[in-house]
Amino acid sequence: MTVFPIVVVMILYFSSIPIAFALLAAAMAYFTFGNVGSPPDLVLQRFITAASSFPLLAVPFFIMVGEVMNYSGISSSLMKFADVLTGHMKGGLAQVNVVLSTLMGGISGSANADAAMQSKILVPEMEKRGYGRAFSAAITAASSAIAPVIPPGINLIIYALIAQVSVAKMFIGGYVPGLLMCFALMIAVRIIAGRRKYQPVRTKMSSPKEILKQARESVWALLLPFGIILGIRFGVFTPTEAGAVAVLFCTLVGVFVYKQLKWEHLPIILKNTVYSTSSVMLIIVAASVFGQYMSWERIPHHLTNALMNFSGSPWMMLVVVNAFLLFLGMFLEGGAVLIIVAPLLVPVMRTIGVDLVHFGLIIIVNIMIGGITPPFGSMMFTTCTITDVKIGDFVKEVWPFILALLLVLIVVTYMPAIIMFLPNLV
């Protein structure tokens, strides 16, 4: 078994080459110099096949939905709704921050887009009301981890394709872990806000009438995720078509209902979509090419054997796998961890009898925690850059939230009865 490509990836990645290119370089080196007896240009077929899957098109579509949403007035309408729901609590704006990420998760599924949007809109507002800037940045980054777990989410789709499980099951399965993350963060905020005397934004709880009024205004955004899931579940459209329809839907709502979406927003929406999509897709292509090397060397097989020798108990195995994923998440962007590692771990899980939908939810919650941990967390960088907070100050404020999310991860891992209740209904 040759492991030099894995070493090459690590060296290149740590000398600041983007992960997609590190993977491509290592794989191409293997097929050129590794004496595999297959001409390296044949590997290029993989570049095409990896990207030419119709189900995979759901990824750019849902990325685009998130971008459209930010300019269509849907975000600000959801923010008002979050404010009506939680503004009266201690640490009101921080609670709004958490709930808003949860609501936004129901439409877009990108943690970074969510972190960027809230860093720009909510953090200045929080600072004005006496919250520390580092604290505001920390809760913004931590809560953005919820958005990709709540359906529809790009990672849920990518995992479903890798593990060959139903997208509808993954979507529905995301609700409980996502809501648990939301509650865990709200409790953490409540404790910290009580200690630091962070004040509510509203003097008293909103009346049911107020809540209903705001809910009616945000109804389009609130119902969309259910429309998508029901539509997929009952075969009205495929997940890919659901993504395309959601793009159309959000555009129409932005133009005709909230009347905020204009022609001039089109370039920026397309630009952001192109950047995010091609970054994700290049990693998918590169990981797929690198996967050629791994299957050539039968690495998934060896890995399964090694892990099985280590421990056959699913309980212990999940401890090891979770620790390994958290470790990787410290250095690698969550989506990349999922794309590279899931194909290796899925056979292991199948062998030891862990439900693959359950495992998918574990891995997705896990990699989101990596996004807010130093030294390399993508949401941490996004918020710190936009809000101009030092990484050191951020870390001092974010650890209670990391702790809260780790507790959720434990629940998600070891209480499948709660987590799998909804997906098993489908």
């Binding site: 600041s16 191409m28 459209f237 970054s279």
Partner: protein, 167 residues
């Protein structure tokens, strides 16, 4: 609208990639509408959507590379003093030229090897899809080379001024 035109000219890769992406989105939407509104889908939608997406991905990848949107981590490189960091950066860009250039070279062999192949549904030559690799990675090679030249200039130019200051 004028802003739109300016943006298109200034960011030709993004614009091209976005155009392909729009095609992908639109054919899928139109197909859903046709299926439910007019009881008939289009048989070529999947192939056009995915082929167009492949172009969007590889050209968009070049755009993202040009604007440094592919994230790398500078965890270790940032530990070095500035001059050495600059040198590492030059080596990295040289490597990127080699990697991307090699893929361009292989893509010609690949296209050559598949010159008789045709796409399954529309029966057009496979080169219309496969050339996306050549175009995308050629653009990335060009950008990597541009970065390389700029950084080398900075590196050697900076030394000259530093010496000048000492005199």
């Amino acid at each position: 609208m004028r802003k739109f035109v300016k943006l298109v000219l200034g960011n030709f890769e993004v614009a091209l990639s976005a155009a392909f992406l729009m095609v992908t989105v639109l054919v899928v939407i139109i197909n859903v509408i046709l299926r439910y509104g007019f009881k008939g889908g289009l048989f070529w939608v999947e192939e056009v959507a995915t082929a167009s997406f492949i172009w969007s991905v590889f050209v968009g990848g070049a755009a993202a590379y040009r604007h440094k949107m592919h994230i790398g981590i500078d965890l270790i490189t940032s530990l070095f003093p500035e001059r050495i960091r600059e040198l590492i950066s030059i080596v990295i860009n040289l490597l990127m030229v080699v990697i991307n250039g090699y893929i361009v070279y292989l893509s010609f062999l690949f296209i050559q090897a598949n010159r008789l192949k045709r796409t399954p549904v529309l029966d057009v030559p496979a080169i219309y899809v496969n050339a996306a690799i050549t175009v995308g990675f050629s653009l990335m090679t060009v950008h990597a080379a541009r970065f390389l030249v700029a950084e080398a200039k900075l590196f050697f130019g900076a030394r000259r001024t530093a010496r000048g200051a000492v005199r």
